[in-house]
């Protein structure tokens, strides 16, 4: 049942289970598949009850939908995790050093290691951040490093998501669901908890507060665009879980040089704002004047050092896929070490030789928009029809700067529960990383996204992906 072109994380070619899964496989073989399938359906009811849904963009009517959940966990050994942790921490430190440099002296450009146009043509570069050092010196506080695996020791970073990584509520709810459905498994196996994430988030955000607040504890708020946003559930969930205020733009205004929230007891100052509103909409005084989602004057208060905005405005430059191709150089430039985690080889279609190669090998490559996200507007060569390839080729020729291409990676598989029993499906992994001054915290686990369609390599929830609980084993 395994396809030996792909590395399966659970089952070996010989029919046995890999070591991290051995305990789980033993348990699984003793269970009645019919009962498990029934439990799998119960999981959906569980999610509906707590209300996790998300809106799918790009459909005629943005409908509320449940992200499908699979009950077979994705299991990572302690030794594997340690290596990932080291690599992620190195990369996230480099990202913060890079953002500080780009908004100050731009040494990496002066040194010739990064071409100027990678930044000057990057739409996410925010002039208003030039010369700005955020409180605590942290630019990207919350990072979701997307990883894929192709072999026993082969991990690649696919995307860095330094702007606004979403999905952490699924990591927490997936675990909650598994604990309720299979409590016996957690007594048999040493699975490291993920439930500390909200407290860690609160702690690391608080450590980045401006130094001049006059209360015992900094006040933290989550700024949401509102109930119609596709991730509203996550915003309210996180605010609730970490004991922070959930606010919308209309609740806030500048009072006495601080951003303050309206309460029944008058205005209360906010020290740290975890905003889930995009840069352009954040402040109608400094950015898009038509924005109803932003707080007028928040950038002035920020530049004056009176509030922390997480993640800092302008961090999106690090999510650009043309920039991604320079990440190994960026890691080396700021840490003085070779990158521990591998980058996927990337052809920049802006370079004529690369463009030619990409056009000649389109049927074998994955082509992505430089500024795109969520799996929209991308081409998976091997899965595309002749017509789709021809159409995409034309788009590429018309606007080569807009695209990068990567080899189609042989993404690892983890089985999912189907009516016919276990069946392998491709997965990726998004661990959640928190950055405080001098400290990086990585929750042992993350969001495993799984392409539910047989053979599909696209795991995005907006493109028919589901999720799994991710277990990192203790020593």
């Amino acid at each position: 049942m395994t396809d030996n072109r792909f590395f399966d994380e659970m089952l070996t070619g010989a029919g046995g289970a890999r070591v991290p899964y051995s305990e789980y496989a033993k348990w699984f073989s003793g269970e009645d598949p019919k009962v498990l399938l029934k439990k799998s359906n119960e999981a959906e009811t569980f999610f509906r009850r707590i209300g996790i849904t998300f809106n799918v963009y790009g459909q005629k009517e943005a409908q509320e939908r449940l992200i499908p959940f699979d009950i077979v966990p994705r299991i990572i050994a302690a030794r594997e995790w340690r290596q990932l942790e080291k690599g992620i921490e190195q990369r996230v430190r480099a990202l913060n050093a890079f953002l500080a440099d780009i908004y100050h002296r731009q040494e990496i450009i002066k040194s010739g290691r990064l071409p100027e146009h990678i930044i000057s043509r990057n739409d996410a570069f925010l002039p208003q951040m030039v010369g700005m050092t955020p409180p605590g010196g942290v630019y990207t506080h919350i990072v979701g490093t997307d990883l894929v695996r192709t072999g026993e020791n082969e991990f690649y970073v696919l995307e860095d998501n330094a702007r606004t990584p979403s999905g952490v509520s699924y990591m927490l709810e997936n675990r909650e669901t598994m604990l309720q459905m299979f409590p016996e498994l957690f007594t048999k196996m040493k699975v490291r908890p993920v439930s500390g994430y909200p407290a860690e988030l609160r702690r690391s955000l608080s450590e980045c507060a401006p130094p001049n607040f006059d209360r015992a504890k900094p006040r933290v708020a989550v700024l949401t665009p509102g109930i119609h946003n596709s991730a509203y559930f996550e915003h309210s969930f996180l605010a609730d879980q970490m004991g922070a205020e959930l606010v919308e733009a209309g609740d806030l205004r500048v009072v006495d040089g601080k951003v303050q929230m309206r309460t029944t007891m008058g205005y209360k100052p906010i020290d740290v704002i975890y905003r889930r509103v995009d840069d352009d909409f954040l402040d109608p005084l400094s950015f898009n004047p038509d924005s109803m989602l932003g707080v007028p004057g928040i950038m002035d208060v920020y530049r004056a050092g009176n509030i922390t905005i997480a993640n800092a405005p302008g961090t999106g430059i690090a999510d650009d896929k043309a920039l991604y191709s320079y990440m190994p150089d960026i890691v080396e430039f700021y840490t003085g070490e070779k990158a521990i985690l591998k980058n996927v080889p990337t052809w920049r279609c802006s370079e004529p030789d690369s463009l030619q190669y990409v056009l000649d090998n389109l049927d074998e490559l994955v082509v992505k928009e430089v500024h795109g996200s969520g799996g929209y507007g991308m081409l998976v060569g091997p899965a595309a029809s002749k017509k789709e390839l021809a159409e995409f080729g034309a788009k590429l020729r018309a606007k080569p700067d807009n695209y990068v291409a990567q080899p189609t990676l042989a993404l690892s598989t983890v089985p999912i529960m189907t009516k016919k029993g276990l069946a392998p499906r491709h997965v990726d992994l998004r661990p959640y990383v928190l950055v405080a001054p001098g400290r990086v915290h990585i929750t042992p686990g993350g969001l495993t996204r799984v392409a539910l369609k047989e053979g599909s390599l696209v795991v995005n929830s907006s493109q028919g992906g589901g999720t799994k609980d991710t277990w990192v084993l203790g020593d």
């Binding site: 004057g297 002035d300 530049r303």
Partner: protein, 268 residues
């Protein structure tokens, strides 16, 4: 030269304003282009200072909030500035903002056919010598767009003003900036004050352009007066176009109608 400046900006409304924020770039910086601030003070009526900071172009910014229920706000600036005649040469310092930022067009300075044609006319002189090239360009802008009040307003883009064939100092500066960038030169807008020989009272503050030339750094060009700024000029704020260097940039809730009144004296 020592220049005494007194500048009052008043916004009056026909009914109380619920909520309004004003971003002010009204404080000149010393230590640049031979400019030295001997004294400077700002006071407000009908508004309260919220924060003061240095922005991404190193402008001194003050953000004030209109007092609740107030029907007018006045900003009084006054002080004394020592200036030096450096024939327009400001020099290489441009803070942390990268030079490429000043090469990019903004909404107000995106060139259209009229500006592109203006720019093309100065191409040959520019190829021989950059400084003469920009002087040539400046003269071409002045010729194509004679100074005239009333045709344009603060939100008029460079191309619109160039097409209209009339404009004020703001339009001249933005057209020159747009054309210079089109020719590959970094350029920026400067808002400030100018001492006039024939009068003390002025209707409005002044604005001109600065273009980056290899070897010289930033060099000022005042198209409207066909001169490079000398010791009669006081630099206050810079930006990629007028809107980024504007003395007052505001946001207001409600539909009260606004009347602006400026009182400005520049004297020796």
């Amino acid at each position: 030269m020592r220049l005494k400046i007194s500048h009052t900006t008043t916004y009056a409304y026909d009914r109380p304003v619920d909520y309004a924020l004003l971003q002010l770039r009204l404080t000149p910086r010393g230590g640049v282009a031979g400019q030295n601030v001997i004294s400077w003070s700002t006071r407000y009526e009908g508004a309260t200072l919220q924060v003061a900071y240095e922005d991404h172009f190193r402008n001194a910014v003050e953000m004030v909030q209109m007092d609740e229920g107030s029907q007018s706000v006045s900003i009084h600036c006054s002080g004394e500035i020592e200036t030096e005649d450096r024939t327009g040469v400001v020099g290489p310092g441009c803070g942390l903002a990268p030079l490429w930022l000043y090469r990019q067009p903004t909404k107000a300075t995106t060139p259209g056919p009229v500006i592109r044609k203006l720019a093309a006319g100065a191409k040959d002189t520019l190829a021989e010598n950059a400084l003469s090239g920009v002087h040539d360009l400046s003269a071409r802008v002045a010729e194509a767009v004679p100074y005239a009040k009333g045709t344009t307003h603060v939100a008029t883009s460079a191309e619109e003003a160039a097409s209209a064939g009339q404009g004020v100092c703001q339009d001249h500066a933005q057209i020159l900036i747009s054309a210079a960038r089109h020719l590959g030169l970094p350029a920026r807008y400067v808002s400030g004050y100018l001492l006039l020989s024939d009068r003390i009272d002025q209707e409005a503050a002044h604005g001109w352009a600065e273009v980056w030339l290899e070897g010289l750094g930033w060099v000022g060009f005042d198209v409207s007066n066909a001169i490079c700024p000398d010791d009669r000029y006081v630099r206050v704020a810079v930006g990629r176009d007028y809107s980024e260097a504007a003395p007052v940039h505001g946001l207001r809730q409600g539909d009260a109608s606004e009347e602006l009144c400026v009182s400005l004296q520049v004297q020796q």
